[in-house]
Symmetry: C4
Subunit: 273 residues, 4 copies
């Protein structure tokens, strides 16, 4: 087999998921990534590390070598190597192999192995079902459309949180956990998002009153991002539902409603759906 | 009375809820199930068990015998016994009777009695009001339609949670409750879902900063499932309300309500649905 | 002034809010109710009660006497006394006066005074702005329309919560706060609704895993009521917006869309909006 | 350069953001405000204040002098000085400079410096992108439209919270943190908004039962503000998208998109918007 043909075949197996081998490769890779993430996680549990430390180290090296081989192969079979190397997945693939090597030199670098979990994003590639792609794309478009509103919202919330946090710092007099403004702002965030750890909680009557106000008002405020995402998602979905794939033969306009019989831009009659 | 006729009558009483006796049987059964679940629950309270242990045991055996008799009866009157035995409710009915018998052999099997609570699902059968069936079906369809989006969403959240958890493990240096990566991931889930127990909470300044980021960003993220369910439910409901595809033969207007008899634009009579 | 005329005048002042005196009476009443609720609340604070106990007692008797006089007056001026006495506000008004008298006989009855806060509902009467009435009616209709779906939802959640609670009781082995099934079910509710007090929290690895599952899945589940209310509210609002007040002169059908030119039921031409 | 021309130039730089210098001024100001807020925050951290106290004091005076100069300049270049002085930003600008001076006289006034964070609102001015203005205006209009519903909702919630809080005070018998009615009401707010600090939590069985009821019911209740904001936002957005009132002269179809030039039903040319 010529080197070129081998390269092509490897490309189809490694980068695509339509053939049996391509699918098998992707699933096997996902299992490896999952196992690798699990290994790193378990390694951090002291009692398990004491007993199975050597096993974990061995597994980690095996995973790292496999991922390194995979990375080199991906680089080898790519027609445009630079593009792959600087693509999102190219960088993730590289980063996934480095920590184990770096840990030989720097202590601590080791934990970065968990960045491998980013590779789990490949899961969407395997599905490769039009349905999932479509759904994910709807979500992505809705979130993208929500972005400016969300930025306005987060800026407003940040200012509220800073002011409320300082107010509580003044009210509680630097006691009861409200020891500094940054800590009080942290408490305000914990409260406004309704997380409510309880590690810091107001004790004075006035403090509890203001806290109650933050919660009730905050609830109305916090309804906003949900409202934004929902409204945008509803729009995206009804657009997807309403727009057919018909293209006007006269002006090439493509975004026609389902019930349209004539192009709304040029008045040309549209083909049947 | 012939055996066949008796069987038919029993079938109507046990499996249907349209006759007076059928309704009485279903309500009585529900009350028994509820009492049985309450008995098991109270039995687990040590102070009550010490005092009323014998009473609880007796009640449990009474319920078990009654449910066993009911199961045998159901099996007897079914025209297609295999189908009932392997249907959802058939399996639930069987499982509900087993734990008490199993507890004679295995200790611990006893607590499984609580699986009887699944039988409470029969409550929907009693209502048997078109309204409730319709509402439940709207909910089910909306949730079903949301499934692919929810899967995409949960996969994304899982990856975020793994990465954030590890980050916090590194930042807090394995202290303040963040003793291992799995525990830190557990903390990240508790935080992102805004549950916030407070059994683990960041103490370092950097840790609190990242936690605040997770909460605020997390709030925008967590708005997504609500948005998905709402948008799908809105669609399902408006489809139910407005589901005809009739087109006016005079003016070609197509957006007619279900109850429309004449075109609201030109007054032309509409075809039957 | 004749007794009948006085009665009529009092009726307008006490029951209506369109005249200056009627409005003044309602606002004064609201302030009294608020003060009364505040007094009862402050009385329950031990340190304040020790110091101002006599003042609080005096105030409470003043409020009670005033409310009693008001109740008797309302009864007196009502044209249909039985209807008022058994109406929602009639019962609330009566209940508001009783606790102070009852407290002379039974200790503890005293705290029931807080039922007076129900009287705050009169606040909506004062507004009496078409806008508020309309908004409240939209909310009420949306919540009413949501009821069957919410019942289906709460039944489903109850069953989930019972099963999950028992599962955690078995997993945590009756330790770490999960001392009985009812307590574990309570924990499951606290977790599923994302309240998360942290008074009970899983400690075992398996328990934390199941808890994490409840939270993530629970989040998708808990999105449902929001979705229901939003979808129903959206429908109610767009109905309000779309439906004009035009009535078909032929068949008296009244629910016409804004863009309707002909009655969709009988085809009759509609009047201009 | 004449004094009048200088004043005009300064006005363009200080109040507008279309020129290079105008933009530079606004960005520099924002950075200063941010730095100032950060300085005040860090100053409240005891360990940092002990070490860098002098630095913080110096920085604060520098910021205050700069902001004072800026305020005087703004006042100087304004054509209508009274209007600026009493405008929202005029007042905020003044308030931002005062605390440092006041702190010379009153201790404690110092912390008010944090009111400077209100000045961060200027961030929206810099963007000055039509997109952000539009988005913020959509949000504002939706929130404004939601106001009457939100007021109805908050009044209802307040009454629920007062009654539930007192109920819990009676049930828990003034123990387990429920030491007074105000504290119990505070607890009810913490629970209903799903914040759940856990500093106060029911211990008795009945108390936990009622708490569970509050949570489940509360969840359905708390879905309402989200529903309100979402529904209003959805309306605002679809109004913005679809705001023409054009009617086709041929078929009377009225639901045309903004970008439509021809009727999508019959192909007739539409009138200009």
């Amino acid at each position: 087999m010529s080197s070129k043909k081998l390269k092509e075949r490897l490309y189809i197996i490694i980068f695509e998921a339509d053939t049996w081998w391509g699918k098998f490769f992707d699933v096997a890779l996902l299992v490896l990534i999952l196992l690798s993430v699990v290994t790193v996680s378990l390694e951090s549990v002291k009692s398990l590390n004491a007993e199975y430390g050597v096993l974990f180290d061995t597994l980690e090296w095996i995973f790292t070598v496999l991922f390194t081989v995979e990375y080199v192969l991906r680089l080898y079979v790519s027609s445009n190597r630079t593009r792959y190397a600087f693509s999102f997945f190219g960088i993730i693939d590289l980063i996934s192999t480095l920590p184990t090597y770096l840990a030989l030199i720097f202590t601590g670098a080791h934990s970065l192995i968990v960045l491998r979990s980013f590779r789990l994003l490949r899961v969407f590639r395997i599905f490769k079902l039009a349905r999932f792609i479509g759904e994910a794309s709807q979500l992505r478009r809705a979130l993208k459309a929500s972005r400016p509103k969300i930025i306005v919202f987060i800026t407003a919330v940040s200012i509220i949180v800073i002011i409320m946090g300082t107010l509580m710092y003044i009210i509680e007099g630097g006691k009861n956990g409200f020891t500094s403004i940054p800590r009080s702002v942290y408490w305000a965030i914990v409260t406004l998002t309704t997380v409510g750890y309880g590690d810091i909680a107001p004790v004075t009557v006035l403090g509890q009153g203001v806290a109650a106000l933050i919660m009730i008002m905050g609830y109305a405020i916090i309804a906003v991002p949900t409202g934004i995402v929902t409204a945008e998602l509803g729009m995206t979905m009804s657009q997807d539902k309403n727009s057919t794939d018909r293209i006007c033969s006269n002006c090439n306009f493509a975004d026609h409603d389902n019930d349209a019989k004539y192009c709304k831009i040029c008045g040309e009659e549209l083909p049947e759906d």
